[in-house]
């Protein structure tokens, strides 16, 4: 069993009173939007997976089913005019940042009207206009780039901030170290968010590093580090809100670790030999959507019927987006060399 399974089930769980306070601080609209986004992400990926199985997608794909609370809770904590930078497992982040799901699906299938005109694919969805500065397929590759984004935000004297997402495995790359040090040194307006899903491909966190919590690594940069129940969208929202405030007020970066779990294999080629079926089942007990809908009902934010209808409408949106995207035109291979350099 990976080191963190117990953490989420026990010590990290929010005190129900605090959770209730968080809910009370938020508007129904906001709480509902988070739920919508969680459903959209889940269904987007289920559809993506189905397309893949049907042979309609060429290439690879990294699903975040079971991890939705981390990107969605985090991004709910910032403003629309703030920025995000994410990584290969970035569907949730993209949806949370307000992407058009049809253009997203178009990119996933590699179509011309897709976000990246079919050049990027699932691993590289960016929505520049939506201030989603894209996804890198290089593990840890976004972290140094984040330094530059933070620097620009600071130098331009904006009050915007950046959320920089990466996985647990990425924290073993040298780029993580260089970026956190520079961001801490210059007090850049960045929140570094680790979607700790317990594995980097087949490597369990405890086989890849000697600290129990990735947030402990914040000590090397003298910045706050916090570990959160990453399957609790409200806890994530709360902790990232604090870190965002810190970043926005010029106090510098925070390292937030959202403990979560990936239900699916790493990518299509994964035979899951490095973990047990029991472990997966155990984590499915912490489905972030089921937990969230439970609380929404408990705190009387939404009724079961309302939730059902949100779920239904998300499913329909995704189905429609998929249909539309499948009908999108293909890009054509003319003049590819001409588009490499910007004029």
């Amino acid at each position: 069993m990976p080191v963190h399974t117990k953490d989420v089930s026990n010590e990290l769980q929010l005190d129900p009173k605090i959770r209730k306070q968080i809910v009370q601080r938020l508007s129904k609209e906001k709480l509902q939007k988070m739920l919508e986004q969680m459903f959209l992400t889940r269904f987007f990926e289920e559809n993506a997976e189905a397309l893949y199985m049907r042979g309609l997608v060429h290439g690879t794909m990294h699903l975040s089913i079971g991890m939705e609370a981390s990107p969605i809770g985090s991004i709910a904590a910032i403003r629309d005019d703030d920025y995000i930078l994410h990584h290969h497992r970035g569907h949730g982040h993209t949806i949370a940042k307000g992407a058009d799901i049809t253009l997203m699906m178009g990119e996933f299938i590699g179509k011309e009207p897709g976000y990246c005109r079919g050049r990027g694919g699932s691993m590289h969805i960016a929505d520049i206009a939506g201030r989603n500065l894209g996804a890198t397929g290089i593990v840890g590759g976004g972290l140094p780039t984040a330094v530059g984004i933070g620097l620009a935000l600071q130098m331009k004297k904006t009050d915007n901030i950046l959320l920089c997402f990466f996985g647990d495995g990425a924290t073993n790359e040298g780029s993580f170290h260089e970026a956190l040090n520079m961001a801490a040194l210059w007090k850049l307006p960045i929140v570094f968010i680790c979607d700790n899903n317990q594995y980097g491909m087949s490597m369990a966190v405890e086989r890849a590093m000697t600290v129990h919590h990735i947030s402990q690594r914040a000590a090397a940069y003298n910045i706050p580090g916090v570990t959160v129940d990453g399957n609790d969208v409200l806890a994530v929202y709360d902790k990232v809100s604090e870190a965002a405030m810190r970043a926005r007020s010029g106090e510098g970066p925070t390292l937030v670790e959202n403990l979560t779990y990936r239900w699916r294999g790493h990518s299509k080629s994964d035979r899951n030999l490095y973990r047990t079926q029991e472990e997966i089942e155990e984590w499915k007990q912490f489905d972030p959507i089921i937990r969230y809908t439970g609380w929404l009902q408990e705190y009387k934010v939404l009724s079961e019927d309302e939730i059902d209808s949100i779920e239904q409408s998300a499913k329909e949106s995704i189905n429609k987006a998929t249909e539309t995207a499948l009908a999108f035109p293909e890009p054509t291979p003319e003049n590819l060399e001409a588009e490499v350099f910007a004029p």
Binding site: G59, G110, R119, V139, E173, M201, M203
Partner: protein
């Protein structure tokens, strides 16, 4: 073409694994290190099952730390071990450049020749799998231009096994390129352990009208193209250097001297690619005077590899592109 005396057909992937397994049985200084090479078997399954035989020490999973992996190889090699590193995709060699170029390639000369660095870095490369710009590169030219590193790129299972064994036994850093699309390609491979000489190319098909110089997956495509053109009466010689550095110049010079025409085909981008080097080698040799037409290059477009399948195909030479280029070169200068 060297023809193995066996009727056993296995894939390139199996050939690579067999080379690793047999060398590890023979020499306890050989070990594997890389990301997810243990139970996962590596991103492409090359080392599948090997951890069971050799244990977690000799088939060592690492954190995602490419510079660390490369350094682990350099340091172990400095101590007389024979590490075989795996970089998951050749694109991630970007993160190993200091260790490979500034350390591995230079330590021997920099320290007065008193030490050697026998390491192999296996690097799956190339496009065609829909993995887009950051997972599809063919970066051989970086290493070809780095003194102190050898570069090998087999196009058949037979070559892969024999050359990988030689690479492991070689006392220098070697970047061993493995084409992802070829992993499933089958060929005859002897079961016994054997070596093939580094820096010896191979005539994959004899011909008299034109030489195609190619390696990796485009060598296979060139052979297909040659068969198609044979039906049109164009008789193509396909030569595969197998080792890109140090290059078997004699083979190229001899073949071109015979055919008078040279088409160089590779997947890597044309500008700054290996084809320029090969062109220069021929120009500087006696073969220059035997040329009946200018040397031509057919290489990857100067673009980051796109995700979309149609665009991706357009980015590198396919069989039909080779047929077209060779057909046109065949009549040039006549």
């Amino acid at each position: 073409m060297t023809n193995p005396e066996t009727k056993r057909e296995i894939t390139m992937l199996e050939a690579v694994r067999e080379a690793l397994v047999q060398e590890m049985r023979r020499d306890e200084n050989v070990f594997l290190i890389g990301e997810d090479i243990g139970v996962y078997g590596g991103a492409f399954g090359v080392s599948k099952g090997m951890q069971e035989e050799f244990g977690m020490e000799r088939v060592r999973d690492t954190p995602i730390s490419e510079a660390g992996i490369a350094g682990a190889c350099v340091g172990a090699a400095l101590m007389g071990m024979r590490p075989v590193g795996e970089v998951m995709f050749m694109d991630f060699l970007t993160l190993m450049m200091d260790q490979l170029v500034n350390q591995a390639a230079k330590i021997r000369v920099m320290f007065g020749g008193k030490v050697s660095i026998p390491l192999v870095m296996r690097a799956p490369y190339g496009s065609g799998t829909g993995a887009a710009a950051q997972h599809c590169q063919s970066l051989e030219s970086w290493f070809i231009s780095t003194p102190g590193i050898k570069v090998i790129c087999p196009s058949t299972p037979y070559d892969a096994k024999g050359l990988l064994v030689s690479a492991i036994r070689d006392n220098n850093p070697v970047v061993f390129m493995e084409n992802k699309l070829l992993y499933k390609a089958k060929g005859f491979v002897p079961e016994d352990l054997y070596t093939l000489p580094i820096s010896k190319g191979d005539v994959k098909r004899e011909g008299k009208d034109m030489t195609i110089f190619s390696y990796g997956v485009t060598a296979q495509r060139s052979l297909e193209a040659a068969e198609i053109l044979a039906k049109e009466g164009i008789d193509i010689e396909v030569i595969d250097p197998r080792t890109l550095k140090p290059l078997d110049k004699d083979l190229v010079i001899q073949s071109v001297s015979k055919t008078g025409r040279l088409l160089i085909v590779h997947e890597a981008t044309k500008t700054g690619g290996f084809a320029g080097e090969v062109t220069s080698v021929v120009c500087e040799s006696e073969a220059f005077d035997r040329l009946d037409a200018p040397i031509k290059r057919l290489c990857g477009l100067d673009i980051p590899i796109p995700y979309n399948r149609t665009l991706e195909k357009a980015a590198t030479p396919q069989v039909e592109d080779i047929v077209k280029a060779a057909r046109s070169l065949a009549i040039e200068g006549r």
